[in-house]
């Protein structure tokens, strides 16, 4: 395992430091916390939007902070949910007086820490609500599904709705509409390595790949012999097509952090062909690193059924570095 870092336990703090230094026009840092907020502070009257989770998913979540998307990103230790006090700082930084919506990925830790923070914020008189994203179809049981790359669409659409002046309830309803319909599935040919322990999330030999991975280095739900990406795409789409009917969709081919962009576009080439053959209309397309897992080599496919409302929020301007429009 080779890491381009300083001291492993200062990784998140130095990353946040670097982000704020590189983009001072965009980012501020909540003093003493690994929390990134808007450089220009909370927008009075606007519903605040906060997300976060463990670090290691860059550009998520700080890369989605900016006009039209998030107001604060809470950066936990690598692959470890942030603590309630941190999330509370994010909430405070995002609060413009009209309530704050938390976008939470469905992990026991994230849900508990964000809920605790919401309780603390409530005690301080801040109106807080939250939406849980659970888009990973690799997990059969819907309640247990992980929140993965589909979360980015929640950020984008809820962010645009908040920017357009919608109320907390309205923004939440939109976020839930996205969360209810977005579906993702991922795979990897190489694991990522935990910076502190130096260990890979799983051990694969040269001929194996993991299907149905999460974004925290966890093993997939199935281990298979490697094939070319044409066949891999078939495999993932088989799962996704069971839950998303043909029609107009947004598709995202998301890199896991260590995947060359050339491979993502080759992958997208197959995804597009197969979906169109199956009767889907690819109304919006996104290819790149959106929700990564350190240097993992792999990708996920996300589908979001689109109507006019969602499309218009998806297309709304965004200043966020990870989703600039």
């Amino acid at each position: 395992m080779k890491k381009l870092i300083g001291e492993a336990n200062e990784l998140v703090s130095q990353m946040v430091e670097g982000m704020v230094h590189a983009h001072p026009e965009l980012y501020g840092r909540v003093e003493g916390f690994n929390v990134i907020c808007r450089a220009d502070g909370a927008k009075s009257g606007k519903v605040g939007l906060v997300s976060g989770g463990g670090s290691g998913h860059e550009p998520a979540h700080a890369g989605y902070v900016g006009d039209g998307m998030l107001d604060a990103a809470v950066c936990g230790e690598v692959f470890t949910s942030p603590t309630p006090d941190m999330v509370l700082e994010g909430i405070k930084a995002a609060d413009g007086g009209n309530g704050v919506l938390l976008v939470v990925k469905n992990y026991a830790g994230d849900v508990m820490n964000f809920e605790l923070a919401a309780e603390l914020a409530d005690a301080e008189g801040i109106k807080v609500d939250h939406v849980v994203v659970a888009d990973d179809v690799a997990i059969t049981n819907k309640e247990d599904r992980r929140g993965v790359a589909g979360t980015v669409f929640v950020h984008k659409i809820a962010g645009a709705a908040a920017a357009s002046g919608k109320s907390l309830d309205e923004v939440k309803a939109l976020a839930e509409k996205v969360a209810a319909n977005v579906r993702s599935m991922g795979m990897a040919v190489e694991p990522c390595y935990m910076p502190v322990s130096g260990k890979p999330g799983f051990d694969l030999n040269e001929e194996e790949m993991e299907i149905g991975i999460g974004i925290h280095g966890e093993r997939g739900v199935e281990r298979k012999p490697t094939t070319n990406v044409d066949a891999i795409v078939d495999d993932l789409l088989d799962h996704l097509k069971k839950e998303v009917s043909p029609g107009e969709v947004a598709v995202m081919v998301n890199g896991m952090g260590g995947t060359p962009l050339s491979e993502l576009y080759v992958t997208y080439h197959f995804v597009a062909k197969k979906l169109e053959d199956a009767g889907y209309t690819l109304k919006r397309k996104y290819v790149g690193n959106y929700m990564t897992s350190l240097e993992m080599h792999g990708f996920s496919i996300t589908l979001l059924p689109l109507d006019e409302e969602l499309t218009s929020y998806l297309d709304a301007p965004s200043a966020a570095l990870g989703f600039k429009l």
């Binding site: 936990g76 692959f79 508990m112 605790l116 280095g217 966890e218 093993r219």
Partner: protein, 196 residues
């Protein structure tokens, strides 16, 4: 009798045991989770030890401080669970400066209840609950705490997880001990040792 000094001693002992088992905890979590439990617990208990130099008037104050510290340092799933445990045990300890076996047990039962409530979990899901709940349910002062805890930890090996990250692997989660169960046994052993 668990004194304030004894409680502190227990926490220092827990910290050193977690440090010694850091890699084991991490490897277990690597097998059926995301490989950070040892790191999270180590970070949290290091922070706990750092607050032990302060003076505490009551066991309740100390327990609350420990809970708040864990809550803000551990992160992940374990953070709110351990944090809630100590925070919710605090009122039971109340203003006491020492606690006999039955008060300790009552406080720990509060802790266990807090874990289940926060985690929306119950016995049999292959989590730390499978140590806390059965350990406390028929606990007697004369029990061999360590042996009992070891058995409970071992029993999680054959379970199939239905809560937490391990649940993603379904049947494949069988065959590995739950990391949170092991860390719980470390913490409970350290406390019970000071009660004896």
């Amino acid at each position: 009798m668990l004194t304030i000094e004894g409680f502190k001693q227990a926490l220092r002992h827990a910290q050193s045991e977690i440090e010694a088992n850091k890699d084991t905890l991490t490897d277990l979590d690597r097998a059926i989770g995301d490989g950070d439990h040892g790191i999270n617990m180590s970070r949290g208990f290091e922070a706990v030890v750092a607050v032990l130099d302060d003076d505490y008037a009551t066991l309740g104050d100390l327990s609350k401080k420990v809970g708040m510290t864990l809550m803000s340092k551990v992160g992940g799933a374990a953070g709110p669970l351990y944090g809630s445990a100590f925070v919710k045990a605090a009122p039971k300890f109340g203003d006491a400066t020492e606690a006999d076996f039955s008060l300790v047990k009552e406080a720990l039962v509060e802790a266990s209840t807090a874990i289940k409530a926060r985690g929306k979990s119950e016995v049999g899901q292959k989590t730390m609950v499978d140590v806390w709940e059965p350990f406390l349910s028929d606990l007697n002062e004369s029990d061999d705490f360590d042996t009992k805890l070891d058995q409970l930890v071992g029993a999680t090996e054959d379970m199939v997880a239905t809560k937490g990250r391990a649940s993603y692997f379904g049947e494949n989660s069988r065959g590995t001990i739950d990391p949170g169960a092991l860390s719980s046994s470390i913490v409970l052993k350290a406390i019970m040792k000071e009660v004896e």
